[in-house]
C-alpha cells in the first residue's frame, strides 16, 4: 500500500509561483484533504501527484518509487503511477453508457470480457447504481453521475485516489450523503485518498489529516482537530472554523517568563501560560516541514492546546514577545457568565492578574435551534462571536458578562505564528 511523498515541490506558471516548496508525506491508507482558499494551488498539487502537470522542481515518490524528480530527470507517465483521479466536472464520456464508461479502461487493459463484466457489476453494486448501466451520463442526476465517475476511477483498482472537489456540484443534502459514502469507500478499498476541497467543514469531517495551503505555501499539516484547536498561525486560525475564531490584536507592554501584559485602546489584559505547558509540545510535532508524519493516534489523543507550541523548546518562554501580537479565542470557548447587573458594574471574579470577565453588549443574537451565535461588542469596540449550545435569545444592547475558558486562549506572535496557549484576564 502506497505512501506518497512530496519533496520540495515548486510549480511556476511563468513567474507566478502556484506551489511553493511543498513537502508533505501522505501515509498509506490516509484520507488527506488539501484545503485552502480559491487559487491557493490545491488542484495544481493534486495534478502534479497524478502526473498531469509537471513540477518545476522537486521530487515525488509513490510507494517508495520516484515518479518525478527534476534533478534525476525522472517523469513517470500518469498511467504508470497507479493513481485514480476524480475530476470536479466528473468528465464522464457523454457518448458512452454508464457500463461502457466503467468498462472502457479495462478493455484498454485487454481484460477478458467476463472479467470486465464481473468487475463492472461489482462496482455498480458497490456504488449503488445497478439500475442504470445502459443510461447515458446526460440521463443521470448529479449524484448518480458522481457515482459513475467514482466507479470509473475505481475500476482499475488504483491504490491512490485523487479527488478534486468531487462534491462541489451537488446540493447540500446529497453532499452529506456522498461524504458518508466516500468514508465508507475509503474503508472498503483501503486506498490512500487525497481530496481537494475549499469547504473546511468537509475537510474536518472526512480527513485523517488536513493539509492547509495559502498562496502555494503550506500552512499546516495535521489531524483536523489539531488544526482546529492549535492553528499554527493566524491564517489557519481564521480559515478553519465557523463562525471564525475571534482574533484581536494587542500591543505587548511587558513580558515575564509565563505571562504577557497586553493593551489596546485603553483595554488592558494579561495572558498567562497554561499550567501544564509543554506536556504535548514534544510528542505531537509541529506543523508541516519535511518529516512531518501522521499519527492516527493524534486524532484520539488530547490535541487541545496546552502551553507553548510550535517548537516549544526554543520558544519556551514568553519574554521574547514584543510588538503587536494577536489573541485568538474560538467562539465556543467564550462563556457567557451572566447578565451584567448595574450594581456589579466593577464586578466579576478576579484572579491573580485581574478580572476574568469582560463586560459586553449584545449586537445580534442568532438562535438556530441547536445552538445560538451571539455577536457581542466590548467597550473598546471589539466584536466577539460566541457560540452557545441551545437556543437562548438575548435582546439587542443587553449587557452580558463574558469570560474566556482558561487554557483555551491562543497567543500569536508579531508574525502571526502561534506562540502559546493559556488564559486571559483583564485589568
Amino acid at each position: 500500500m502506497p505512501r506518497i511523498e512530496l519533496r520540495n515541490i515548486t510549480k511556476k506558471f511563468g513567474n507566478f509561483v502556484a506551489v511553493d516548496n511543498l513537502s508533505i508525506t501522505i501515509e498509506d491508507g490516509d484520507f488527506i484533504t488539501l484545503l485552502g482558499p480559491s487559487g491557493c494551488g490545491k488542484t495544481t498539487t493534486l495534478r502534479q501527484i497524478a502526473g498531469l502537470e509537471m513540477p518545476t522542481s522537486g521530487e515525488i515518490l509513490i510507494d517508495g518509487r520516484t515518479v518525478f524528480s527534476a534533478e534525476k530527470s525522472i517523469d513517470v507517465a500518469p498511467k504508470d503511477r497507479g493513481v485514480g483521479f476524480l475530476f470536479q466536472s466528473y468528465a464522464l464520456w457523454p457518448h458512452m453508457t454508464v457500463y461502457k464508461n466503467i468498462a472502457f479502461g479495462l478493455e484498454n487493459l485487454k481484460w477478458p470480457r467476463d472479467k470486465i463484466d464481473a468487475r463492472v457489476r461489482e462496482l455498480l453494486s458497490l456504488l449503488k447504481i445497478e439500475e442504470f448501466p445502459d443510461r447515458y451520463p446526460s440521463e443521470l442526476s448529479g449524484g448518480q453521475q458522481q457515482r459513475v465517475a467514482i466507479a470509473r476511477t475505481l475500476a482499475t483498482n488504483p491504490r491512490v485516489l485523487l479527488m478534486d472537489e468531487p462534491l462541489s456540484n451537488l446540493d447540500a443534502k446529497l453532499r452529506m450523503e456522498m461524504r458518508a459514502e466516500l468514508k465508507r469507500l475509503h474503508h472498503e478499498t483501503g486506498a490512500t485518498f487525497v481530496y481537494v476541497t475549499h469547504d473546511q467543514l468537509e475537510a474536518m469531517t472526512l480527513a485523517t489529516k488536513i493539509c492547509l495551503l495559502n498562496r502555494g505555501l503550506l500552512q499546516q499539516y495535521e489531524a483536523p482537530l489539531s488544526v482546529y484547536n492549535r492553528p499554527r498561525n493566524v491564517f489557519v486560525a481564521d480559515f478553519v472554523g465557523n463562525p471564525t475564531m475571534n482574533l484581536v490584536e494587542f500591543d505587548v507592554e511587558k513580558t515575564e517568563a509565563d505571562s504577557v501584559y497586553l493593551s489596546r485602546d485603553g483595554m488592558k489584559a494579561v495572558f498567562t501560560l497554561a499550567k501544564d505547558s509543554g506536556r504535548l509540545s514534544t510528542g505531537d510535532s509541529a506543523a508541516g516541514g519535511p518529516g512531518a508524519s501522521a499519527h492516527p493516534a493524534a486524532r484520539q489523543g488530547d490535541s487541545e492546546p496546552q502551553g507553548t507550541v510550535g517548537g516549544a523548546s526554543e520558544r519556551g518562554d514568553l519574554s521574547r514577545l514584543s510588538g503587536r501580537v494577536t489573541i485568538g479565542v474560538r467562539p465556543e470557548n467564550v462563556e457567557v457568565l451572566g447578565v451584567a447587573l448595574p450594581t456589579e458594574a466593577e464586578g466579576g471574579a478576579t484572579s491573580r492578574a485581574g478580572k476574568t470577565s469582560l463586560r459586553t453588549r449584545v449586537d445580534t443574537s442568532l438562535p438556530s435551534g441547536m445552538e445560538t451565535v451571539l455577536n457581542l461588542r466590548t467597550a473598546g469596540g471589539v466584536m466577539l462571536s460566541v457560540v452557545m449550545i441551545g437556543s437562548v435569545d438575548f435582546a439587542a444592547e443587553e449587557e452580558l458578562e463574558v469570560g474566556f475558558k482558561p487554557g483555551r486562549v491562543l497567543l500569536f506572535d508579531s508574525d502571526g505564528t502561534l506562540a502559546a496557549s493559556g488564559s486571559l484576564c483583564f485589568e
Binding site: 497524478a50 502526473g51 498531469l52 509537471m54 518545476t56 522542481s57 527534476a70 530527470s73 517523469d75 507517465a77 500518469p78 498511467k79 493513481v83 485514480g84 483521479f85 475530476f87 470536479q88 466536472s89 468528465a91 464522464l92 464520456w93 457523454p94 457518448h95 472502457f104 479502461g105 484498454n108 487493459l109 470509473r152 476511477t153 475500476a155 482499475t156
Partner: protein, 596 residues
C-alpha cells in the same frame, strides 16, 4: 533541469509534437513563399532585364517605384487600391447589416419558416462567389457596353444604367450578399447564446427600443461584428472573379485584377509588391480586430445559456415580414440557379422567345451548327467529365488533408494554450487566409516549377494543386478545430489518459466521437471552398488537369455563355447536394465550421 529532460518531457505531450510539426511545415509552406515574394519584388525578372538594362536576377527597386512613385502609379496601384478598399468595406457593411438583421429576426422574433429561411440563407456562401455576379449580369446587363440586354430589360423594357449594371455598386452588393451568411452565422451564434434577460432588463428600466439596440444589443454582438468584418474584408479584397465579371465591362479596376495582369507573365515583381501590400492591409485589420476583441472580452463571456428566450411578437407584420424575407432570400439564393438554367438553354442570348430554346448545349453530341468548334453538349462532354473527376479528387484530397491537419492544429493549439509555440501556430494557421489567392498561387508556381529542396518540379501536377489547396483552406479547418476543442473540457481526455488510454485511442474513441459533427464540419468547408475555387487554381491548372472552375473560366473566355451557365449550375448543384448529404448523415454544417 537538464535540457534533454526538458525536451523529452516537452515532446512527451502529443500536442507539442503536433505544434512543432505544424509550425515547421506551415512555416515552410507560408512564410517561405512570403519571403520569396519579397525577394522577387526586389529582383529583375527575365522579361524586364532588357528594359532595365541589368542582368536578370539582379537587385532592383524598380517594381516598388513603379507601383508607388511613378506617373502611372495612379492607374496601376492607387486607383485600384481605392476601389478595392471601397468595395471591400461596402461589402462588409452590406453583409453585416443584412446578415445581422436576419440573425436578429431569426433568434429574437417569431418569424415564420425559420428553418427553411436559415438554410436557404446559407446558400450564397456555398455557391461559387461569382455565381451571384453572373446572375446579376444575366439579370441586369445592358447593351451599352456591347452584347445583349439582360432578363430585366427584356421583360420591362427599361435599360439599366451602367453604374447599376457594372462596377463598384454591383461588386459591393454581390460580394456583400455572398458573405452575409458569415455575419448571420457569427452574430446569430452570439445572439442565440446570449441571455436575452440582459435586453429585457433594459426594457424594465424603461429604455427605448433604439437605445436598447445601441447600448445593449450592438455592444453585445460587437465581437462577432468585428470578426465578420475581418473575414469578409480579407476575402473581398482578394476576390478576383466577381470584380472581373462586373468590373471589366466598364474598366473598373481593383487590386486583384492588377495582380492577374502583372503576375501572368509581364512583371511578377510588381504583382508581388501589390500582393504584399494587400497582405499588410489584411494583417492590419487582423491586428486591429484582435485589439478590439481583447479589450471587449467581457462582452463575449455573456454566453450563459438562458432558459427561455422570449421572442418578440411581430403581431400583424409577422406574415408580411416573413414573406419579405422569403422573397429576398429566394431572389438571392434560388433565382440565380433559375437564370443559369435559363441561359444554358438559349440559343441567342437576350432572346427569350420559346423558339430560341434548345437542350443542345446539354445533350447534343456535336454542336458544330451552333459553335465554331464541335463542342459536345455538357453532359456528353469528355472535358467536363475529366474536370469533374479532377475537381472531386482535388476537393476530397484537400478536404482530407486540410481538415485533418487543421483539426490536429486546433486540438494542439487549445491543449497547448498559453505557450508561445501554440500562439505562433495559431497565427500561422490563420495566415493563409490573409494571402490573396492569386498571389499565393503565383508564388507557388514560381517556387515549385523548378526543383526545390528535395521536391522535383511540380508544375502541372495534381500534387501542387492539392498542396496549395490544403494550405489555403487550413484556416477554416483549424478555426473549426479550435472551436470544437474549446467546447471539450480537457478533463474528458485526461480522464482517459490517467487510466492508461493512449493518445491515438483517446482521439479516435473519445475526442472525435464526442465532437463528431464539428469534426466533420472541419472537412466540409475546405471541400466546398475547393469545389468552387477559381483564383487559386487559374494560374496553376494546365489544360491537362483542368478542374470544373477553370473549365468554366475557359468557357467564359471563349464567350460560350450557355456552357458557362450550365456548368455553373452543375457546380452549385454538386456543392449543395454534398453539403445537404453530409449535413443529414453526420450533423456537420458550415455554421459549425465557421464557429457560430
Amino acid at each position: 533541469m537538464k535540457l534533454t529532460f526538458k525536451l523529452k518531457s516537452f515532446f512527451r505531450k502529443p500536442q507539442n509534437i503536433i505544434l512543432f510539426v505544424v509550425c515547421v511545415v506551415l512555416g515552410y509552406l507560408t512564410l517561405f513563399p512570403l519571403y520569396s515574394m519579397l525577394r522577387d519584388t526586389l529582383t529583375a525578372h527575365v522579361s524586364e532585364a532588357r528594359r532595365l538594362g541589368v542582368k536578370a536576377g539582379s537587385m532592383t527597386w524598380d517594381h516598388w517605384k513603379r507601383i508607388l512613385f511613378d506617373k502611372n502609379s495612379r492607374t496601376v496601384f492607387y486607383r485600384p487600391l481605392v476601389n478595392s478598399l471601397v468595395t471591400s468595406t461596402a461589402a462588409c457593411v452590406i453583409s453585416i447589416v443584412f446578415g445581422g438583421i436576419f440573425a436578429w429576426f431569426i433568434t429574437r422574433t417569431d418569424l415564420k419558416w425559420k428553418k427553411t429561411l436559415s438554410s436557404l440563407f446559407i446558400f450564397p456562401y456555398i455557391m461559387p462567389s461569382w455565381t451571384l455576379a453572373l446572375a446579376w449580369l444575366n439579370l441586369f446587363k445592358n447593351s451599352l457596353v456591347g452584347g445583349s440586354d439582360g432578363l430585366f430589360t427584356a421583360i420591362t423594357g427599361v435599360a439599366t444604367p451602367n453604374w447599376f449594371a457594372y462596377g463598384a455598386f454591383p461588386i459591393s452588393v454581390v460580394t456583400g450578399l455572398h458573405y452575409a451568411p458569415f455575419a448571420y452565422i457569427m452574430i446569430g451564434g452570439i445572439l442565440r447564446n446570449a441571455d436575452s434577460n440582459l435586453e429585457e432588463a433594459a426594457d424594465l428600466l424603461g429604455t427605448t427600443r433604439w437605445r436598447r439596440l445601441w447600448k445593449i444589443t450592438i455592444p453585445m454582438i460587437a465581437p462577432a461584428i468585428f470578426s465578420t468584418f475581418l473575414l469578409v474584408f480579407s476575402s473581398a479584397m482578394s476576390s478576383f472573379a466577381v470584380p472581373s465579371f462586373l468590373g471589366l465591362p466598364v474598366r473598373y479596376q481593383v487590386l486583384t485584377m492588377q495582380l492577374y495582369r502583372t503576375l501572368d507573365g509581364v512583371s511578377p515583381g510588381q504583382g508581388y509588391a501589390i500582393a504584399l501590400l494587400m497582405i499588410l492591409i489584411s494583417v492590419g485589420v487582423l491586428a486591429f480586430n484582435q485589439r478590439i476583441t481583447n479589450s471587449r472580452r467581457n462582452f463575449t463571456t455573456v454566453t450563459g445559456k438562458s432558459g427561455g428566450v422570449s421572442l418578440v411578437c411581430l403581431k400583424r407584420s409577422r406574415g408580411v415580414l416573413s414573406a419579405v424575407f422569403l422573397g429576398l432570400i429566394l431572389l438571392v439564393s434560388v433565382f440565380p440557379l433559375f437564370t443559369f438554367a435559363l441561359e444554358s438553354l438559349i440559343i441567342h442570348p437576350g432572346d427569350y422567345r420559346p423558339s430560341n430554346f434548345t437542350l443542345d448545349f446539354w445533350i447534343s453530341r456535336d454542336n458544330t451548327a451552333r459553335l465554331t468548334t464541335g463542342e459536345p453538349g455538357l453532359l456528353l462532354n469528355p472535358a467536363l467529365w475529366a474536370a469533374l473527376w479532377n475537381s472531386v479528387k482535388l476537393s476530397v484530397t484537400c478536404a482530407l488533408a486540410a481538415g485533418t491537419l487543421g483539426f490536429l492544429a486546433g486540438y494542439a493549439i487549445v491543449r497547448g494554450r498559453g505557450t508561445r509555440l501554440a500562439k505562433a501556430v495559431d497565427s500561422l494557421a490563420f495566415f493563409p487566409y490573409l494571402m490573396p489567392a492569386m498571389a499565393f498561387s503565383a508564388i507557388y508556381l514560381s517556387m515549385f516549377s523548378v526543383r526545390h529542396l528535395f521536391l522535383p518540379s511540380l508544375y502541372g501536377t495534381f500534387f501542387i494543386l492539392a498542396l496549395i489547396g490544403t494550405v489555403k483552406y487550413m484556416p477554416f479547418a483549424s478555426r473549426s478545430g479550435i472551436n470544437s476543442m474549446m467546447q471539450l473540457s480537457g478533463q474528458i481526455e485526461e480522464a482517459g489518459e490517467i487510466i492508461g488510454i493512449g493518445w491515438w485511442r483517446r482521439m479516435t474513441r473519445l475526442v472525435v466521437p464526442i465532437q463528431k459533427s464539428s469534426f466533420v464540419s472541419g472537412y466540409l468547408l475546405p471541400f466546398i471552398s475547393c469545389m468552387r475555387e477559381l483564383s487559386l487554381f487559374v494560374l496553376l491548372c494546365t489544360p491537362q488537369n483542368r478542374v470544373l472552375t477553370t473549365l468554366l473560366y475557359y468557357y467564359n473566355e471563349k464567350g460560350w455563355s450557355q456552357y458557362s451557365n450550365g456548368l455553373n449550375l452543375l457546380i452549385v448543384i454538386i456543392v449543395i447536394v454534398v453539403n445537404w448529404t453530409v449535413n443529414k448523415t453526420t450533423g456537420a454544417s458550415i455554421d459549425k465550421g465557421i464557429g457560430g
